[in-house]
Subunit: 187 residues, 2 copies
Amino acid sequence: MEKVDKIFEAALSLFTTKGFHGTPTSEIAKTAGVANGTLFHYFKTKEDLINNLYLNLKNEMVEESTNGIEKIESLKLKFEYLWSKTIQWAMTNPQKIFFIQQYMYSPYITTNTQEEVDKIKEVYINLIQSGIENEEIKEIPVDLIYIIATQQLFGMIQYLVINPEKYHDSEFMNLAFNLFYDILKTN
Amino acid sequence: MEKVDKIFEAALSLFTTKGFHGTPTSEIAKTAGVANGTLFHYFKTKEDLINNLYLNLKNEMVEESTNGIEKIESLKLKFEYLWSKTIQWAMTNPQKIFFIQQYMYSPYITTNTQEEVDKIKEVYINLIQSGIENEEIKEIPVDLIYIIATQQLFGMIQYLVINPEKYHDSEFMNLAFNLFYDILKTN
DNA sequence: ATATTTGTAGAGTGATCAGTCAATCAAATT
DNA sequence: AATTTGATTGACTGATCACTCTACAAATAT
């Protein structure tokens, strides 16, 4: 495993459990099994590290959830694919989604990083847009649909992390998806 | 204005813009116009301060949104009251809702505080519960409804803070509430 | 082969910060 | 009037931390 990835791994775990300024860079280096200086060789500053980590995880989330979506025909099924893939990723990486939620609107994430993230999430925006054009998705500002959908999805993930048995209850999961999709779809 | 409140006010502003460990207690004291020692007279530690602040704001939010709700008869209107009152509070205190969102799942908020918050939110839980018994609200785990509803509400608030002109567009706000209530209500 | 760049290490440092402390002041209680 | 209790102050400190710097090793280019 690359040293950079070891640093990312250590930082993810420590930042989520102890906070950003709550974890010394020395501890990150120690946990990652690298020297203090190595950390600063790869990242100019501590802020640089958390910004890269955040971008990295957002990228991973989007890639994991959209990989293979082009094979799916119907729009509803595409949304279901996205929805279930994201949940699947979150359930296997609870700490990652936890980190994202925790630092999404934190002052450590620069506007520059936010802009990069905005580019990444365009896949989602485009899907919503095409849904609106097809009159399958409600004609509501895309931004609003996006925020509401992601927030609701995060809520569902939070619930599933606390009640993991529900994740294997397919009847429940079906109902849960409809709860999600009913907001978006035209009546 | 009480010194404690001045400290709360300063801490709210600084914590949201610079992060918890990112703001020195000395700066909080200076901004609040009190001496360094005074801060520690009222709060045992810096963590104690942020926990109290968090609890304080959660309380304020719930009180503001539920105050006067007993006068309303229909369940749907009660939800609409709660929904619009919360949004109204958030729009006049964007920093407060921003702080809540930012520290909701941060490691600085102790489980003890979370438990206190759980007590506060019982008003909401009871309302949902009675709605389920009346068969006006979907028969879904109360926890799940609660999480989804609050997350969605937070999403809406985020959108409105960015697009404040929509807040005064009553047609939009009507549509927005229905977007919220349609998830909850039985078909 | 030699030069140059890149990776890795860890001791060292100047600055910063949470919390203490001793002193004074104000108000309440006896 | 005396005494206790609580409020307020700000200088001080021991510890901690982000980042630097120098040195060496490995890889890559010339």
